[in-house]
Amino acid sequence: MAIPVAASEPAAIDWEVSEHQIGLWQDAWTRFRRNRLALVGLAIVVFLVVVALISPLLVRLHILADPIYQQLVSIETGPGVNGHVMGTDILGRDTLSRLMIGSQVSLTVGLLVQGIIFPIGLAIGLASGYFGGRIDNLLMRFTDIWYAFPDLLFVLVVVSVWRVQGPWYIQLIPIFGAIALVNWVGLARLVRGQVLSIKEKEYIEAARSSGSSPLKLILKHLLPNSLGPIIVTLTFGIPNAIFLEAVLSFLGVGIQPPQPTWGQMVADGTEAIYANPSGVVFPALAIGFTLLAFSFIGDGLRDALDPRMKR
């Protein structure tokens, strides 16, 4: 029998599982790409953004019918009549073009409101987590009370009180404010949680290494760790904001005519529902699928950025 040799160092072939360090974002993007629903959602959103951007141009170029001024030629017609692909509303305006212009409002509200929520939520969450103690307590009690107020009711009340005249993007301001006021709590709590957990880890090191202030350390570590959940929270806030705006328009307290909004179109369509049901169906589906698209993206992002998932 051959003489056994005491093995010196690891054999040529290393059978331990080697782990490649894949950048978090690349990894996330790969995972996101695999999620077909999320991709569909993304496609829909991109399409909507394009529509929102170019539809005013198309109207000016007379490719799209005018969405604002009434025509008397065909009123409350169904799809396909008189060259109107989706029919007309009670003032004879082309539904398709109103739908496309209406996307402006929905997308603006959905996307931009997050831009307001982000700094507010971030600031309060940071303050609460960093200072801790009485301030944290106070802020958390404050958010508890805030939670008690159902968001739709609050938005309705605020918007009813605070009305501004002017073009639609000015009218949006109180709506922005109301929606942001209701939705910042979730982000603040998330940020606070992250800050607290970082504080626990980092303060120990900071105490040992002295030097840069704990605040800098927290900020330095906050971003990479919590950017994922923050993005997911903000993404889920988008459909919520679009929904609130649509409800406001539907109830008549949102953006006032003549600017078309989807919620408004559903309300108008409901009045003539027996004559022309498609007047309700098209804007309703538009709202529904837009929200669905953002939800898919949100789900996809959440799965893609979830640190618990392995390759």
Binding site: A148, P150, L156, L251, P277
Partner: protein, 342 residues
Amino acid sequence: MAVIAGRPNRGALLPRRLAAVTDSRVGSLAVYVIRRVLWMIPIVFFVIVITFVLMHSAQGSPWDKAGGRQLSQVVVDNLNKKYGLDKPVFFQFLLYIWNVLHFDFGLSYQYQGKSVVQLIAEGWPYTATIGTLAFALIVPLGIGLGVLAALRQNTRVDYATMGFATFAASFPNFVIGSLMIVLFSVLMYHWTQGAFFLPAGGWGVDSHLIMPAITLALLPIAYTARLTRASTLETLRQDYIRTAWAKGLTERLVVIRHVLKNSLIPVVTTLGPTFAFLITGSVIVETVFSIPGIGRAFVVAVTSRDYPMILGTTVLFSVVIAVANLVVDILYVFIDPRVRLT
């Protein structure tokens, strides 16, 4: 009254007898409930303050009817005096609080002569009926679908139920309501020559309740189903389920006593927010289906700046939601024996 060794002696500050009571689980529960009820007061107060401030910061007075005849100044002054609007705001606020404590929410501006309480009482039965019906749909359907999907994970049943849930969750109330009206009132009427359809609104016959209740219940069902499924899947992975199987228990016992008893705990905590949703949802659903409930009254009040009505209904809603949350929290203590009532 077992006192668990090692727990901090809260009784040190209380007289002996009282300490014995508060240290027992029953006693702790009572303390907990009292504390939560007391906590409701600042919440409701805060709601009143905010709403009040908002109301009075609005431009224009409630007597500005857009598009209507402008009332003469004399009439406006008289009205202001009648409703106490000429007094300083702070005074109005105190007066209001005083009245609230006597269950007097004032008179509606919109409907001359009717008190807010009256209006609420009129709308209440409609809202309550639809809400209860919706709740009766949500609990069995939401939980049932979720459990089914979890037990048959990754099969067609699972995908179907979760797909349905995603759709239902993404389409807002008024969208679903409107589409339902189109489908079941308009189109069905056409297709069956008027023989079979669901009424689009109003009240009276039972069939009037079907669509509003379903519309209201759809989103909570979807949400509950998703949560139940996730929770049940999580529970199924636990070691104690494996122990239960290893003991030779039947599937029925394992699912009911071991899986559901654990997985439904987080679902119960969402019943509070679900209740809140039923309330805010009623606002929309009642408008879509023209139901004369409190929700629709609220919308009307908002658009016509009927301050007392707005305040009254907001207070009512907040109290109801706070009570619902309290009930859920208490229920939770009974469901999960690990919860400590400190």
